[in-house]
C-alpha cells in the first residue's frame, strides 16, 4: 500500500517537533566542579603547541595525501617494471662488467 505524501510530511513534522521539544538539561554545581577538577589535573595549556584539535583535523587529511602518494608511487613502479630481485638476478646473469659475487667480498 502506498503512503501519501501528506502522511509522510505530517510524520516528519511530528518528529522534528519532538526533536525540538527535547528537555533542557540542568546541571548542579558538582558538574562544574568535576570538569574543573579534570582540567586542573591536566595542568596548564600553552599557546603554540600542537593541539588535539589540530591533530584530529589534519591527521586525516595527511592520511589521504599519504595514501594518494603510495598509489602514485606504486603505479610509477609498476609502469617502470621495477622489480628489484629480477634486476639483481639479471645483473649477475649478464655480468657485462665481469661483476661477480667476489667483487663484493674482496677488497
Amino acid at each position: 500500500m502506498k503512503v501519501s505524501r501528506k502522511a509522510q510530511t505530517k510524520l516528519m513534522a511530528a518528529l522534528a517537533a519532538a526533536y525540538r521539544e527535547k528537555a533542557k538539561i540542568e546541571v548542579d554545581g558538582q558538574w562544574e566542579v568535576g570538569v574543573m577538577r579534570h582540567i586542573r589535573r591536566l595542568g596548564p595549556v600553552h599557546s603554540g603547541g600542537i593541539s588535539f584539535e589540530f591533530l584530529e583535523r589534519y591527521m586525516w587529511q595527511l592520511a589521504s595525501a599519504t595514501c594518494l602518494l603510495i598509489l602514485i608511487l606504486s603505479a610509477a613502479l609498476i609502469r617502470g617494471e621495477f622489480i628489484p630481485e629480477y634486476e639483481i638476478a639479471q645483473a649477475f646473469i649478464e655480468d657485462s662488467t665481469r661483476l661477480g659475487l667476489l667483487a663484493y667480498v674482496t677488497p
Binding site: V3, I25, M36, P44, S51, E53
Partner: protein
Amino acid sequence: MQDDNAPKPSDAEVIRQVLDGNVDAFELLLARHKDHILKVVGKHVPYHEVQETAHVAFIKAYQSLSSFKKEGHFVQWLSQIAVRTCYDYWRQHYRTREVPVSAFSERHQDWLEKVMSEESAQSFREEFSRKEAKEFLDWALDGLSAEERMVLELVHLEGLSGREAARLLGWSVANVKIRSFRARKKLKKVLTGVMEGQEER
C-alpha cells in the same frame, strides 16, 4: 572583596589568561557557556549521556584552546567541538552496542496511529510533545549510521543550512549534501515501512 560593577573580561581575554598558565580562569568560560553547550549536546545524545558528553567537550576545548583564532567567536568554536564530540559519541556507541536496533513497541504503534489520524492542529501539537514521540524518534534514528544521524539531525530536524552543518561537523559542503540525501532517503524508507504496516492493520 570582588567588585560586581567591574567590567567582565571578554572571552578572548580569559583565553589569554588560561594560555598564560592561569588554569582557574577557564572556570569563567565554563560558567558562561555551559548552558549553551548542554543545550547543543542535549539535542544529539541520550538524556543520561548529556552531562558526560558535555564534560568531554569542555575538556577537548581546553586542550585545543591554543588553536582558537582570536578573530572568531568563541561560542561558535565551542559549538563545533560539542557537535563533533556528539558525533564521536555515536561512532563509539555504534561500535560497542550489543543490541543493534531497539524494538518498535505497541506504544509507538499507538502513537503513530494517533498522529496519522489527528486532524486538529492543537491535539497534533500535544501528540508530538509526548514521551512516545521522542522514543519513536530515537527508534527511527537508531537505524542510521553515526554520520547519517548527525547530518539528519542538523539539516532536517534543526533546519541548519548545508554550509552551517559542514562547519559544525568539519566536513565539506558536498559531503554534507550527499550524506544528508542518503540519510533522509533511509529514514523515509524506515518510516514508510512502518506507516504501510500501520495502514494495513
